[in-house]
């Protein structure tokens, strides 16, 4: 373990308001390199908003976000005091890949093109090289026979695996997952979780919002329980699941069972 490395992600007192609604209240969290952190919590507790704030799909109201030790956001009243050159900011954002609940594959592109489109156009990687990388990734998620198919011809589980390959193609250092299996039929959940477990085994840093408690228990290094926009409890899977302290966490775990 290289403890000298800066944390992959660190947030300090992140707050987010939608109008007068306070969705995130002083969220301070750290994801170390190589760590798998799972966020659990009831609906509306701000899990998605927090994850989406990290890669700027949402703009936080106040607080700090560090990516590998570099300050990306230092906001007050929504205004960022950090003025990074655009190129540098994009480089930081590209360290994060994201997988969405509803996949959001590009329907007008084949599986292969879904995976190559960003490397070719954003990273300017030559097409042949991008396709080579994409084929390897598609193979890794077990969909080699589907490279030339359009997303509409795939099951939800297959689409989500392509979405994972698509995010990996940008060679991120951390993968953000927002309930990657919640939109899937129960029988398709396993194949996506299997890919994610493999990814964790291969050493990928992962930040996962999930309702799959067994996944969190098995894979997570750290589990975060969010409640009403706050980090209510944080600990190892054993601490969180076998010895919960926060009253709301106990209730939450009872309800889920």
């Amino acid at each position: 373990m290289e403890n000298t490395k800066a944390p992959m992600i660190q947030t300090v007192n992140v707050c987010k308001n939608f109008g007068s609604l306070e969705v995130l209240k002083n969220v301070s969290l750290t994801v170390e390199q190589g760590e798998v952190v799972c966020i659990i919590g009831p609906s509306g507790s701000g899990k998605s908003t927090y994850l989406r704030s990290l890669n700027h799909l949402e703009k936080i109201t106040s607080g700090k976000i560090y990516i590998e030790g570099t300050l990306l956001d230092d906001r007050e009243h929504g205004v960022n005091k950090v003025k990074l050159p655009k190129e540098e900011k994009n480089q930081l954002l590209l360290k994060m890949g994201m997988v969405f609940q509803r996949f959001h594959l590009f329907p007008h592109k084949t599986v292969l093109d879904n995976v190559t489109i960003a490397p070719i156009n954003v990273k300017k990687i030559p097409k042949s090289q991008a396709e080579q990388i994409a084929r390897d990734l598609i193979k890794r998620v077990g969909l080699s026979e589907k490279v030339d198919v359009y997303p509409s011809k795939l099951s939800g589980g297959q689409q989500q695996r392509v979405a994972i390959a698509r995010a990996l193609a940008m060679q991120p250092e951390i993968m953000l997952f927002d309930e990657p299996t919640s939109a899937l039929d129960p029988e398709l959940v396993g194949e996506v979780l299997a890919v994610m477990k493999q990814l964790a085994k291969d050493g990928m840093t992962m930040f996962v919002v999930t309702h799959e408690m067994s996944f969190a228990r098995e894979v997570a290094d750290k589990v975060v329980f969010m409640y009403e926009g706050e980090v209510a409890e944080i600990g190892t899977p054993t601490e969180i699941f076998d010895n919960p302290k926060h009253e709301k966490l106990k209730q939450f775990l009872n309800k889920i069972d």
Binding site: L57, L94, F106, H108, M170
Partner: protein, 225 residues
């Protein structure tokens, strides 16, 4: 009804002789429609993106343009370009060009709203996915959003085209000869309404062929569904 068919058969030769004359003025109708819809289409993409822009001034300007051209009669717009602009020091000698300008500006406003609606109908998750892969807004528009909008654009663009084909009849008011105007001339000269028969047939042929082409295009762009 039988009188109608009798009139047609008695005047069959006459009708056949009108056809080449009508077709000649159909050229103006078609050319005016194709030119103004094409130009309108190009302008409308910028208008639509402009109206959706976060830049307030740009958005307001585009909205105002669209509001003006959708909120006033095309005939008046034609008059303003042909009769009004000379007072502002801009004289347009060619009637066809004046008509083209008015029709292109008018259709660009309608097409801009069509394009905006199509773009906004695309799931916003598409833009988020594109952003999360490092694409800038313009790149996401070009590679992800606009290509998906095209299929949804084809039917309403077809409607706009058909509207313009029919609205070209208005240019007779600046004495530019096209199919409807020619039909009226022949009707007066021949003191017979029969000329409507080939004229209407020509209109239906144009819109029919166009509808056919658009249906094919729509299928082509739907391969991924």
């Amino acid at each position: 009804m039988s009188e109608f068919w009798q009139a047609i058969s008695v005047n069959f030769d006459k009708i056949v002789n009108w056809i080449p004359v009508l077709l000649k003025s159909t050229g103006t109708t078609l050319l005016l429609t194709l030119c103004s819809v094409s130009a309108g289409l190009v302008v409308s993409v910028f208008l639509a993106l402009g109206k959706m822009s976060k830049l307030k001034i740009l958005s307001k300007l585009c909205s105002a343009y669209i509001f003006f051209f959708r909120g006033t009669p095309l005939l008046m717009q034609l008059f303003v370009v042909y009769y009004g602009l000379p007072y502002m020091g801009i004289t347009i000698d060619s009637k066809f060009f004046a008509a083209f300008l008015a029709y292109a500006m008018n259709s660009s406003a309608y097409l801009a709203e069509i394009i905006r609606a199509a773009i906004q109908s695309i799931d916003k998750g598409q833009l988020e996915a594109a952003k999360s892969l490092g694409m800038s807004y313009p790149m996401a528009m070009r590679l992800i959003i606009i290509p998906q909008s095209i299929r949804r654009l084809i039917p309403p663009i077809g409607n706009e085209f058909i509207m313009i084909v029919k609205d070209t009849a208005l240019v007779s008011s600046i004495a530019l000869v096209e199919l409807s105007g020619k039909t009226k001339d022949i009707m007066i000269a021949s003191s017979s309404p029969l000329v409507f028969v080939p004229a209407l047939a020509i209109y239906l042929l144009i819109t029919g062929v166009f509808t056919f082409i658009l249906n094919r295009l729509e299928k082509r762009f739907s391969v991924y569904e």
